[in-house]
């Protein structure tokens, strides 16, 4: 037997797990759950990836195989854009299921993913599919509680703690030994998961930095829970008291606070439903101008400026297609209005997130979720960055088509003109990339700070109660 007291205490604790069976069974249940979650999440990710690949390929083929046609028809033909999914989504799909992974880009319309409700955007509004991240976030702490709640109280009730202390065993050695016994099996599981994940995500975008961030956060999170279990067990006189206290803390940290904060944030900073936002946008558009109304002041001024610019008296005498210019102006206006709406909506979402972040210290589980979502590229910041890229692509493409309309279609035979398909094939459709992890730096830094406090706070409290026999 080893003479290092910490190792000896840890080994004795493991022997207790093994011989009393229940902790060992709990570990088996946890590993089984983790395997199921990994398998289910992997299948789920494959479904996503397959749908993205299929739709992207079909959309590209359909786009490229368009015949000679009128550019305005092309602008309403539409363009599907797939959201880049990081393979780490297997660990945490985040808001992917709620935000969707495909958007349809069309003229005069903001892309279809822009007005999702806030609870979906923060991924706190519903119980998603079981994932490996959820195992770490919820089930590992619960398992730790079940295994470790009596680690010190049982020593108190059997008198072994008094004996150990009375015979010269350092209190911190006891706490550290118990902590290691609790921590190591779960950290091992987390490290195995990280190793498998590394193989899985190898070569993907920012694989190492994303995985490292995730791993560090998970290790601190588990370490914090282990210290909390030891603290409560040391503080409690009876095992059932420790169990009840820990279960109450688990319910608050993992369920009540995250759910409560999300709901409070949505009440404090409500977002409009999509239909309502679209209604307001339409109303605003009408107030700005109607290109079909000859008396509309905005478009009358627009027309007058063009006539002056080209030095002609009638739009029919212009060297370019006036309808195309009208389309460009109309697109500019609708885009401006929709982007304003989008900015308002996103500002509300950001306020919701900021208000949740302000209270993040109440729930390390929520901090862990923020880091899970950010690392896997499935948080709000990554989603908004994707939407911005998709919107830029839509606007560039539609204005390109309107430019062709202006320059290549004669206005005296506008409706019957067909433009060569080569123009669509060479249309600007910039690729959408997964955003850099730095878009989520606020969430990651605040999450890590909360987790650091989370591991230090129980240690500080333990230092105050550890001297008690």
């Amino acid at each position: 037997m080893t003479h290092n007291p910490v190792i000896a205490i840890m080994r004795n604790e493991w022997l207790r797990y093994w011989r009393t069976r229940i902790p060992f069974l709990l570990m088996i249940i946890l590993v089984t759950l983790w395997m199921i979650a990994t398998f289910a999440a992997h299948l789920h990710w494959q479904d996503h990836a397959r749908a993205v690949a299929t739709v992207s390929q079909k959309s590209q083929q359909d786009w490229q195989s368009q015949p000679d046609r009128h550019p305005h028809r092309v602008s309403h033909y539409g363009d599907f854009v797939a959201k880049p999914i990081h393979p780490l989504s297997v660990i945490e799909p985040g808001i992917l299921d709620q935000s969707g992974h495909l958007v349809y880009l069309e003229a005069h319309r903001l892309n279809s993913a822009n007005f999702n409700p806030a609870t979906e955007a923060t991924s706190l509004g519903r119980f998603p599919l079981i994932t490996p991240a959820m195992i770490v976030q919820w089930w590992m702490p619960l398992c730790l509680i079940m295994i470790g709640y009596a680690s010190i109280t049982s020593e108190k009730t059997t008198g072994t703690l008094a004996y150990l202390r009375g015979n010269g065993t350092n209190a911190w050695h006891i706490a550290l030994g118990k902590w290691l016994a609790l921590c190591i099996p779960l950290l091992l599981l987390v490290l195995i998961q990280a190793t498998l994940t590394l193989v899985w995500i190898w070569g993907s975008d920012q694989a190492l930095v994303r995985l490292f961030t995730l791993l560090i956060a998970q290790i601190i999170y588990i370490a914090g829970w282990c210290w909390l279990v030891i603290l409560v067990s040391w503080q409690s006189k009876q095992a059932h008291g420790a169990l009840l206290t820990l279960l109450l803390l688990w319910v608050c940290i993992c369920i009540i606070v995250p759910k409560g904060l999300a709901n409070a944030a949505q009440i404090a900073y409500p977002t409009q439903p999509r239909s309502e936002a679209e209604y307001h946008a339409e109303e605003k558009l009408k107030s700005i101008g109607d290109s079909h109304n000859p008396d509309d002041p905005h478009f009358a001024a627009f027309k007058a400026n063009l006539l002056k610019q080209y030095g002609v008296d009638s739009t029919e005498d212009m060297p370019v297609n006036y309808n195309g210019l009208l389309m460009q102006e109309g697109e500019r206006l609708t885009t401006q209005v929709y982007r304003e709406q989008q900015a308002q909506h996103q500002a509300q979402l950001q306020k919701q997130n900021a208000s949740i972040r302000a209270w993040l210290w109440l729930s390390p589980a929520l901090a862990m979720q923020y880091i899970h979502m950010a690392s896997s590229g499935n948080d709000l910041a990554h989603h908004l960055a994707f939407l911005a890229q998709a919107e830029d692509r839509r606007y560039q493409l539609i204005q390109y088509l309107n430019q062709i309309h202006t320059e290549k279609v004669h206005q005296h035979d506008d409706k019957n003109t067909r433009v060569s398909a080569d123009f669509w094939k060479n249309a600007p459709r910039p690729a959408i990339h997964l955003s850099h992890l730095s878009v989520s730096k606020v969430a990651i830094i605040s999450g890590l700070l909360v987790l650091l406090a989370w591991v230090l706070a129980p240690l500080w409290l333990l230092s105050r109660v550890i001297k008690r026999l």
Binding site: T2, G159, Y163, G166, G168, K467, L469
Partner: protein, 237 residues
């Protein structure tokens, strides 16, 4: 040098003085028994000797183990003695031999299983029980394991807190004999107990803790009456 020396030691919580200018020494080959009713401060005194007293306690005076002050060198002091708590502190999932080996490893003491077996035989624990989990042991058997552990630790000073508590007469008698055996082997033993008859049987010095004061008493077991015991516990010597 005395194994344990307590000089003018006082302990108070807020305004309540639990121990008042206590003096005590325990020498090699001596058994000192402290009697006292519940709440008189017997356990507090033991905690102070171990350096495990409550932080809020106001202490005065000196406690030395092998000449080392407990207040400054609590861990060192604890390593020099063997403490046997009231509750037989063994792990239910470990056998007697595993328990002893585990506790010794924490004290950085390595002895062979043969030596452990010798001590278990010495305290009279049935050999058939040595490898069974202690969860199945009676309280008397657990106390024997604790005593075997104390012997295996080869400490010169034994502190025992209510060692006979919950034991049947036969187990009590066996334990008393073991304490006497320890004394004969040159150990110093300090026992805190309610059991006056046992204390008379094995102790060289009998002390009564009452109202914070530690006073020597001389008792003749043939003349003990309920009234005499009641007076004793009320501090009327």
């Amino acid at each position: 040098m005395s194994l344990l020396t307590i000089k003018q030691f006082s302990c108070a919580f807020a305004d309540k003085k639990v121990l008042n200018a206590i003096n005590l020494t325990v020498e090699s080959g001596q058994v000192v028994a402290i009697l006292g009713s519940n709440g008189t401060g017997k356990s507090t005194l033991l905690k102070c000797i171990l350096g495990l007293n409550d932080k809020s306690a106001q202490l005065d005076g000196e406690i030395e183990i092998f000449g080392h002050p407990v207040q400054n060198q609590a861990l060192f002091a604890r390593h020099q003695l063997a403490y046997v708590p009231e509750q037989a502190a063994v792990y239910g999932h470990l056998s007697a031999i595993e328990n002893i080996n585990y506790f010794l490893s924490l004290a950085d003491i390595k002895i062979s299983n043969n030596v452990v077996a010798t001590h278990l035989s010495q305290v009279g624990l049935n050999q058939q029980a040595w490898h069974k989990p202690c969860a199945d042991y009676s309280k008397g058997m657990k106390q024997k394991v604790m005593l075997a552990l104390a012997l295996a630790k080869q400490a010169k000073l034994l502190l025992m807190d209510e060692p006979n508590s919950g034991l049947d007469p036969q187990a009590t008698e066996e334990l008393n004999q073991l304490i006497v055996q320890c004394k004969n082997d040159g150990l110093g033993v300090l026992v805190v107990t309610h059991d006056i008859l046992s204390a008379i049987a094995f102790s060289d010095q009998l002390l009564m803790l009452s109202n914070g004061l530690l006073t020597p008493v001389t008792l003749d077991p043939t003349r003990l009456t309920i009234d005499r015991l009641t007076h004793l516990y009320q501090g009327v010597a």
